[in-house]
């Protein structure tokens, strides 16, 4: 298990290096002069030259890349030359908002999706199963931005049950502000997870160890909850791990629509202004999040299913 864990994290580190390098090169390939954009039209040539030097843009691309990785190894993501603030500070003050949004969406969609999937699998080909299937497919088909806008108009503007914008203060207020954005990006995942769990459960329920458990007289609830779900949930864990990437991208528009701070909005704002240090810092952290979540998903799979450790 230790060897598996080490291998998995070494691979994660390699992915991170490749992703950061690609992003570094891509952002510099995009047309647009960062200095003119950041300083605006009234900046003098001297001021522009000073900023170019401060940002290290007068060096060659390979040199800039080496410097960036050098800083990274020292835990230094650089300084936002415009505000003079540490990029680490800027990125990490936005990160919790995005994490809260993503994890709340995963949590409620997993709970509901697994429940719905189990229930549908327990009643295959009945009207309950058909209703669950219809709901699941509808949820998957509903684009998150449409759900976001409709839920805003209904629950925030018309009924005024939930806030339309912001993140709130304190635990309950924060949770209250999370309801609509989390609903918007989690809804399609409910359908996806429900379909996945149903299919996986039906397959597992036909396996011999389940028949053996039945022969021993174990209750159906115990069989499903302890023996079947443990195996059936494996693909869900993997999908959720990979899904972190999708949820991170969903968070971008959700943060814009609900005027929430967060990593996605930070990246968009920084790319628009060609604020290289912040773009790189934010991309590094989101890539790390994605890589770590997939690695953790693999580890959970390995814990739940020993076959995954040996790669069989």
């Amino acid at each position: 298990m230790l060897q598996f864990t080490l291998k998995r994290f070494a691979l994660a580190a390699l992915i991170l290096v490749v992703a950061v390098t690609v992003m570094f090169l891509m952002i510099r390939a995009v047309p647009g002069d960062p200095v003119s954009i950041m300083l605006g039209p009234r900046a003098t040539p001297e001021l522009k030259a000073r900023l170019i030097s401060e940002m290290g843009l007068d060096r060659s691309i390979p040199e800039q890349l080496m410097l960036y990785f050098g800083g990274l190894l020292r835990g230094d993501l650089g300084v936002d030359v415009f505000s003079g603030r540490e990029v680490t500070t800027i990125v990490f003050e936005q990160l919790p908002h995005t994490l809260r949004l993503i994890f709340s969406a995963i949590l409620w969609s997993a709970v509901l999706g697994i429940g719905l999937g189990c229930y549908a699998a327990a009643h295959p080909n009945t009207w309950i199963d058909r209703v669950a299937a219809t709901l699941s497919v509808s949820f998957i088909a509903a684009p998150a931005f449409v759900v976001a806008l409709l839920s805003l108009l209904l629950f925030a503007v018309h009924l005024q049950w939930f806030p339309a914008i912001g993140v709130g203060d304190g635990f309950w207020d924060t949770a209250w502000h999370l309801v609509l954005p989390s609903f918007a990006i989690g809804l399609s995942w409910v359908g996806y997870i429900a379909r996945l769990v149903r299919a996986s459960m039906l397959e597992v329920m036909g396996e011999s160890h389940i028949r053996t458990a039945r022969a021993f007289g174990l209750s159906e609830r115990r069989i499903i909850g302890i023996y079947a779900l443990r195996i059936a949930i494996l693909p869900v864990v993997t999908v959720i791990g990979v899904g972190m990437g999708f949820l991170l991208s969903s968070a971008v528009f959700t943060e814009i629509v609900f005027a929430r701070p967060g990593l996605g909005k930070l990246v968009i704002d920084s790319i628009t202004t060609r604020n290289y240090p912040i773009v790189m810092g934010a991309v590094l952290v989101s890539t790390a999040l994605f890589v770590i979540s997939t690695a953790i998903a693999d580890l959970i799979n390995a814990i739940l299913d020993p076959r995954a450790r040996s790669g069989t």
Binding site: P31, G40, R85, E220, A259, T272
Partner: protein
Amino acid sequence: MRLEWKKAPVGRRSFLKGATALGAASMLPMRAMAQDDGVLRIRNYGDLSTMDPAHSVGVVDETIHASVYNKLIQYTPGTEWGWQMDAAAMIEQGDATHINFALRDDIGFTNGHGAMTAEDVKFSFERIIADATGSPNKPDMGPLSHVEVTGEREGTIVLKDPFAPLWTIALPYITGNIVSKAATEAAGGRIGIDPVAESGPYLRTSWVAKEKTVLTRNPDWKGEAPAWDSIEILPIDDESTAEIAFDSDEIDLTRVSLGSVERYRADVPNGGTLVENPSLFYVWLGMNLDHPKLQNQKLRQAIQYAIDVPSILQAAYFGAVEPSTGIIAPGLAGNRPASLVPAAADFAKAAELLAESGETNVSLTLDVLNKTEFTTTAQVIQATLAQIGITLEINLLESGAFWSSGDNEDLQLVLNRFSMAPDPSYATAWFTTEQAGIWNWERFRNDEFDQLHAAASAETDVAKRDEMYRRAQDLMEESGAYRFITHEATPVVHSSRITPALRPDGLPLLRYFGKA
């Protein structure tokens, strides 16, 4: 296979009770709405970037700075541009290059930095023009030489040359904010995201990145008491989101999109009001005079006459804005009553000009920022130019790439929009020969225009300035490189519980906001 599930021990009555309670609870408004709690909540379209006026990036920062710092003079809220005294008890033009002032004696800085003195004014203005500061706002101070301190609260602003925009931009806008010399020097000469000392009617008590900035009433403020206990400024860049926030009663004031004006004209939710202000922005179609395809003046004039501005305003701006006559908006010196080329297209004249040009099979490109109003405008232009046989290819660019088009020598036609401060010199500054290939993307070079720009900045006679700027815009239009489209508009909605104080272009002056 059939699985057995135990039924939950919930009876019919219990279920009905629970459902009724849930239903009743759901009818209650469960979130904090804009209430009469002494807190004003407004939307800013961006987040605060610095508390240092020298490094302010524009209106977003200035909305906050103007509430926590004082200036010698401030813009007057209302529909006409003007200024009123703020920190100055007296201010007068001694001669063309000397402005004498005396400060009020009741303004002090926070954090124990004492009363505001003429030394603070000198420090604040001179640090803007000092090379060491690296302020991008330095050009706003024009030919400022220095400030002479003649008494504890008296001084003289000394200019190298006469400079009319001193009264319209330098003093009442970004560069006019007075900071504490002692506090700024103690902070190493640069103010960051947190203020080092404030003096205005409000204090900036907190800032959470991309979430909100909170101002609270300054207890030591001796001027007219501000109306609100605190002001929450929420950075919302998306206009639709801001409108939803206003409709759901979560903010008291926001600019709304032109596409929503018709809806708000019919009904503003929660008893609010729509205020339609003109804007200072200017939108135009430019033609690169250096491009080989655009050397023929008759061809350029044909394009000018073939573009139908009313159709553009209807399609892209929902008929909520007026055509412009140049780059200087109504209300400012130099605004022309009419452009040389009428707003409505004259296809017969355009075809005639094209024939005179001798050009055939004309095919051009139009670079456009990827925003809805510009893409729609580009499509209308494409359709109208097609009527005289000119083929147009539209290049959509995202903002970073678009705003770096200055050095793009292949640029042919470009649809552009510049922001503006309330002085005509701010508009003409970008079209001088010196700016060719930087912000003058048309590469318009005209000696008379350059001379007019320089002379009008130094002219203090309003009537003469007006005439000079009108002539400057005539020259631009005569070159055939410009088709002026609109100044847009600034529609603002506000809740019924506030009395907003807006500049003539619709931007908020928070320190003057009142309660209804």
